[in-house]
């Protein structure tokens, strides 16, 4: 096998599973160490630089980092990364003096941002300190987009949104709230140097079934209903509520319905429980509030009497997979089920809609009505128009919108400054030895044996009584510090130097996870099978080094390494060293953070 090129920033980046999995590549272990050190404001700023909304994401992120977390492979549960982010936000104190100041002089370039959601706000955060004149359009009265309108307040309090949206708007962004953009053409005619479209996926998909029209008064589109609840336009719902759909919006709908007077609320889903799109923890939270989730039921008809909804008829099905793994839902042959109810919330997906974009201004759309957008640069087929967030590639989640915003900001900056936008700036990379004493390291290398701590919740009756009562209370400091200790510091890399190695086997003997093997070279598949512990997780790399005196190779399986530093502590010649790898995603300009 070819020796590993550790100079390639991608190699060690991939070892930091959480950061690699995060769309915005937030340096997770770095901020968790800062929390351990009691430096909450510093931890917040590391987050803020990378993901702009630590307080919001610390409550609502889809957390792609957690399923990726190495801790989940060496024991039962990953580190509660998302809730530690909230800890940084909860305990940071006043960080206003750490925020960048509005640009002293403007650079003369004007950028329009359509939609005030997380994608547009990220573009604004990255570009405002560089001197861009930014105009932010949104039909709502405040910034935040779906974060404000669709996420229930019992998950995300209004003050958190106000604070973090405020940090961005405080950088000098002209806002046009209450102003719906009805024509992209006229916006372009206004002479903007670039236009960023972050309008989200605003239309809930409807279910056109028999009885839909007749019973319309009691059938609501989930996301519209959520925003009406959010703005206080709706304050009650029937006692018996059926929520159709298995995504996170369905979970927000059913839990909101429980707080609006619904006593018999259930979620009915076409697919099986496991295949549901909702995050496992959101399903758990719903079930904890006495909401059953019923699976393999396909809605067929809304029943009604005198134009009043009486229930929903479902066909019972099971899943059949063809040889290509495609799923088909097949009727069980059992009689249909009729579930009586007073209201139905339809949360079966979202559709994009761009009626305000003229089709003759050089923006190509695909056959699903989505704009053709470059996945790296986020540029559409019109060189001045960029898309990000759910508007670009369909519904994803907040952290993806932030990642899109950063990339689009780089593109817009390059476009306005006359660079080639395909030429992307490289990440900032540092690799620094953590050696402090003979067997002492700058990082805390002791591995905690604690299991994952659960975030305390508000008492159920109190939580259900008021839709604005936040359910999750967040970790207290004791729990936070103990949970932070569970982090394995995967960014502190095991760096091997073959010329220094005397092949004494000390590292092999001490490694608690049997990661290290000295053996004859071979092809990867062969090597993986004959290591001290076979390396069966193909998504994790083997670290290979040659140049040893015996002609063997050193093979380290990165999969379950605890980054405990024992190999380096037991190495007599310093052939192993623990080095902190800091991977900083490039952002537009350099002035977006003082820290």
């Amino acid at each position: 096998m070819l020796p590993t090129d550790i100079k390639d920033p991608g190699y060690f980046h991939k070892v930091v599973d959480c950061q690699w999995a995060c769309p915005a590549h937030t340096p997770v272990p770095e901020y968790i160490r800062l929390i351990s050190a009691g430096r909450y404001a510093d931890a917040y700023m590391v987050n803020w630089k990378s993901n702009v909304f630590p307080g919001i994401l610390g409550r609502t992120c889809d957390r792609p980092c957690e399923p990726a977390c190495r801790r989940g492979r060496v024991e039962e549960q990953p580190v509660a990364i998302c809730r530690l982010k909230r800890v940084a936000a909860d305990y940071k104190g006043d960080v206003s003096d750490r925020m960048p100041s509005p640009a002293a002089t403007k650079n003369g370039k004007r950028v329009a941002l359509v939609g005030a959601g997380p994608a547009s706000l990220t573009v604004a955060r990255d570009l405002a300190p560089l001197g861009y004149e930014l105009t932010l359009f949104d039909e709502g009265q405040k910034g935040g987009g779906m974060v404000r309108t669709q996420i229930p307040k019992f998950r995300l309090p209004e003050e958190v949104i106000d604070e973090e949206v405020g940090y961005v708007l405080g950088l000098g962004v002209e806002t046009r709230f209450g102003a719906r953009v009805n024509s992209l053409k006229s916006l372009l005619d206004d002479g903007y140097d670039a236009v960023f479209i972050g309008t989200g996926a605003p239309r809930g998909r409807d279910l056109d079934l028999p009885g839909r029209k007749e019973a319309a008064a009691n059938i609501h589109l989930g996301i519209d209903w959520l925003s009406s609840v959010s703005f206080g336009h709706i304050t009650s719902i029937g006692k018996r509520v059926i929520v159709l759909g298995g995504g996170n919006t369905a979970m927000d709908c059913c839990r909101s319905a429980r707080r609006m007077g619904g006593t018999d609320v259930k979620v009915v889903v076409r697919s099986g429980f496991k295949e549901m799109k909702a995050s496992p923890w959101e399903k758990e939270d719903a079930m904890h509030e006495d909401i059953p989730i019923l699976n393999f039921l396909v809605p067929k008809e809304f029943t009604h009497e005198n134009n009043r909804l009486t229930g929903v008829v479902f066909e019972t099905v099971h899943a059949v997979y063809d040889d290509k793994g495609r799923r088909q839902l097949v009727n069980n042959g059992e009689p249909d089920v009729h579930m009586p109810c007073d209201d139905v919330l339809v949360a079966v997906g979202q559709e994009n809609a761009f009626p305000w974009i003229e089709r003759d201004i050089g923006i190509a759309f695909d056959r699903w009505g989505m704009p053709v957008v470059d996945e790296t640069t986020h540029r559409s087929t019109n060189e001045k128009v960029f898309f990000g967030g759910d508007a670009a590639f369909g519904p994803k989640n907040i952290i993806w919108a932030v990642a899109h915003g950063h990339q689009a900001a780089i593109s817009i900056d390059r476009l306005c400054q006359g660079g080639a936008i395909d030429d992307r700036p490289p990440p900032g990379v540092q690799l620094i030895s953590q050696k402090m004493g003979i067997h002492e390291w700058i990082y805390d290398n002791e591995v905690s044996n604690d299991h994952r701590f659960a975030v305390p919740h508000a008492e159920k009756t109190a939580a259900l009584a008021n839709i604005k009562t936040e359910v999750e209370l967040g970790f207290d400091l004791g729990q936070a510090l103990a949970e932070a200790q569970r982090c394995l510091n995967c960014d502190v890399q095991t760096v091997f130097s073959a010329p220094a190695c005397i092949e004494c086997d000390a590292c092999v003997d001490i490694c608690p996870e049997d990661c290290i093997t000295f053996t004859a070279d071979g092809e990867e598949a062969d090597l993986r099978g004959r290591l001290n512990a076979p390396a069966r997780n193909l998504s994790q790399d083997l670290y290979i080094a040659d140049g040893l005196k015996t002609g063997r190779v050193m093979v380290k399986d990165e999969d379950v390494c605890l980054h405990c530093g024992m190999c380096a502590e037991r190495c007599p010649t310093g052939a192993w060293d623990m080095q902190r790898f800091l991977f900083d995603m490039a952002q537009a300009g350099t002035a977006c953070s003082k820290s």
Partner: protein
Amino acid sequence: MSFLPKPKLHHPGLLPNALGYTRRDYEGAISTLCAGCGHDSISAAIVHACFQMDLPPHRIAKLSGIGCSSKTPTYFLGSSHGFNSVHGRMPSVLTGANLANRDLIYLGVSGDGDSASIGLGQFAHSMRRGVNMVYIVENNGVYGLTKGQFSATADKGAKSKRGVANNDEAIDLVSMAIQLGASFVGRSFSGDKAQLVPLIQAALAHPGAAFIDCISPCVTFNNHQGSTKSFDYVREHNEAVNMLDVITGRDEITVDYAPGAVEIVEQHDGSLLRLRKLAGDYDVSSRAEALGFLQHHHAKGEIVTGLLYRDPEPEEMHSYLKTTATPLNELTEATLCPGSAALERLNASLR
């Protein structure tokens, strides 16, 4: 030394043995020896061997004397019986323990100072008596605890870390053990677990005095140019006479070597030893041949390793002494102390 214990988390694919223990259950406290010490590799080899043989940790007694090597029983088999004895006196403490309870598995761990200098007499007589044990000498040729003076096993002409040559002839413990009546004698190298682990397993299964001389480089005082016990020197001059596999009942016996190159011998506990011969027609059952071979290759500056001698019909101390098959702690007081009438009869029979 490390200040932290080895993390408890282990590889998710770590399998238990027939007793339900994982290999990690056979470990001890974290080593306080110098980083890279060969002794730690021997400890790891002992852990591997006991785990693979499904030995119940509480049926093993590990005994040692004084020195770096004699510290190591703390670092393996944390759930076994242990006795850290006086300098050079491990063999007699072990002999006594064995006399009292022959059901335990005895593992004596010593070093070149403990066995070839202060304890040379004890070493010799425990071999002569055929005490049923595994006696491992972790041989690094220097006194590591007192800053690296030559020990009695240092080769003549070998250079110290400061460049001073050793004038004294080396004691070859392997040759002595063969001469003195050990019924299983091997030599290995801490840097070669593929050879060492099966050798320890075979020795543990051997009913009689089993001796292993394991060259174990001292990274601090004896791993330099001019040393004959450094990693590099031993690797360059290692002349293995055979490779050993221990086949327990669970493993399938497959012979995929050229005919004549493999010898399969059955041990007393039913396990099989598969010897892959590397050096011509070396016969492991001949004392005379072993001694000649050792002399011959020593003169060429080679270090002979592998299973060097194995008595096909080993006997041990208890059979010579005709002692009771039951451990003393399982005998009743009446049996152990039959009373004054029995003493009278015994005395009368001797008059």
